[in-house]
Symmetry: C2
């Protein structure tokens, strides 16, 4: 079973009927599992989340982008969040049975279709980036729609696909593959936030800690505990379990103890089964032995 998550961002957070029409394009693709919509009126932006097999997810993203180009005119769009496109950014995230390379391939195909079928220039970012400076979305979005309109025909800003001029109303779109991001917090048996900050600094990648880990130390009033708060941006290399064990180790150096952890939001089952393998010293366990995963596969096969 190959599952990819897509979380496209559109430049509309106020007109409910516009958001609904974009949603409808996605939901109409067979085999798409629609997880939800978040709209923000101040940002004037919405984020749609759905999951499915790669080609179907790519098709749904393309159709949604086409509909957004029909309904959203960036010349009339005002909001607090920076944006360059009616469809601003389309990230593809591998969830199950799919490699990052497959997601990069998928993102390239969708970016091409948007450029050549819709006339909207596209940029590749994150793992799909063709240039180092385009890994970071902020670089691509510099100057927003209005600034890009003036500078798109320069060497620096030339799109990856499509002509070097923005679509008159839909702007440009950024497409790419990225790893699932897991927000993972670990609590310490101390109220000393400085202690949590020292541990965070030793855990984070930037200081030679674990790959893909961003970490900060906080004091959490509600629990009266110091917390090491992490974003795991590369769970193929640093899983929650690895991050947890590293914090336990660093906490011991500080003479404090880990008392608990929390995962914020959704996680792939593989993250959970990795931790279970450790707790039970499981040998030869396959995620295919998990009933709910097997049932999901069966249902998705049935939809083909």
């Amino acid at each position: 079973m190959k599952l990819v998550e897509c979380i496209p961002n559109f430049s509309e957070g106020r007109r409910r009927e516009v958001i609904e029409q974009i949603e409808a394009e996605i939901k109409a693709v067979p085999g798409i599992l629609y997880l939800g919509t978040e709209a923000d009126a101040d940002h004037n932006r919405c984020v749609l989340t759905f999951v499915g097999e790669p080609e179907r997810v790519g098709e749904a993203a393309f159709l949604a982008c086409r509909k957004a180009a029909e309904l959203i005119d960036l010349n009339k769009h005002r909001g607090e969040h920076p944006r360059i496109g009616a469809t601003d950014v389309i990230p593809f995230v591998p969830i199950s049975g799919v490699t990052m390379d497959e997601c990069v391939e998928l993102s390239r195909n969708v970016a091409k279709r948007i450029a050549y079928e819709l006339g909207i220039p596209t940029y590749l970012y994150e793992k799909s980036a063709t240039r180092e400076d385009r890994r970071n979305l902020a670089n691509i979005r510099k100057g927003e729609f209005e600034g890009l309109r003036e500078s798109i025909n320069t060497e620096e800003r030339r799109p990856d696909f499509g002509e070097a001029r923005v679509h008159p109303t839909a702007g440009a779109t950024v497409v790419g593959a990225r790893a699932p991001l897991i927000a993972f917090n670990v609590y310490l048996n101390t109220e000393d936030v400085e202690c949590a900050k020292r541990i965070a600094s030793r855990v984070r990648e930037k200081n030679g800690g674990l790959p893909g880990v961003k970490a900060l130390g906080f004091y959490i009033e509600k629990r009266r505990m110091a917390q090491v708060s992490m974003n795991l941006t590369d769970i193929e290399r640093t899983t929650p379990l690895k991050a947890y064990l590293k914090v336990v180790e660093e906490a011991a150096r500080e003479n404090v103890k880990v008392v608990g952890s929390e995962v914020v939001g959704m996680v792939p089952v593989s993250v959970i089964s990795e931790a279970a393998r450790s707790a039970l010293s499981l040998m030869d366990f396959s995620d295919e032995q998990i009933m709910e995963k097997r049932l999901l596969e069966l249902l998705l096969e049935g939809e083909r």
Copy 2:
């Protein structure tokens, strides 16, 4: 999401076309997830496995039983495995979001329908049993079809539902709810099978060990290790994690160590997440945060 597993056993293991017609009845019910068929020619018996929401699973089990009554004549049936019915036994097992009581209720409804709509007397067993001596399937099946035909009108053998005479060709059927059974083995860093047997004896329920645990000690040639082999028959009370920790504790008393474990076959995701909660000291984690479980729920809702 309410999920129940059903694993009915039919008295046909040779005529593939008969088995397929029974399967077809089950697969035709919307929302049924068909997991597989195992047929044994010597036993002349097949076991079908499927999962779904309670009422649908009940409907599928009833339809399969009706078809089996059309196609199987016990007067002509010979096989090594004891049996009293064309549909011999129908177990319902809670998988997710469903209590044992709901499965008992479901089993009673199906048993009534089989008795009153098909004229096949039914017995309730395991958690659904109305009499202590009927918890054990072997007691109900005593004397098989031929013996039951003679004795069914005695007090001891009177069915729970239906008249006190076997169906002339389909016999009688046993229906009931039971806990999912997990086969769970733990390996020790010793080749001493006696050590594994001592640990097994202290772990098993019969000797005051853990609820619902059956345990034996073996020597496993392939791994050159002694093994504590367990059947967990009540995972609401004794999960694999609890059984594992108990074996670790008992192993320490024997001065040996646990080196690994294995789960045989399928397990509900709740079993895996419980172990993950322990490994990560997770606080406030819900199985609803597991992507694949959420997606399965979405798909099943879509089938309604």
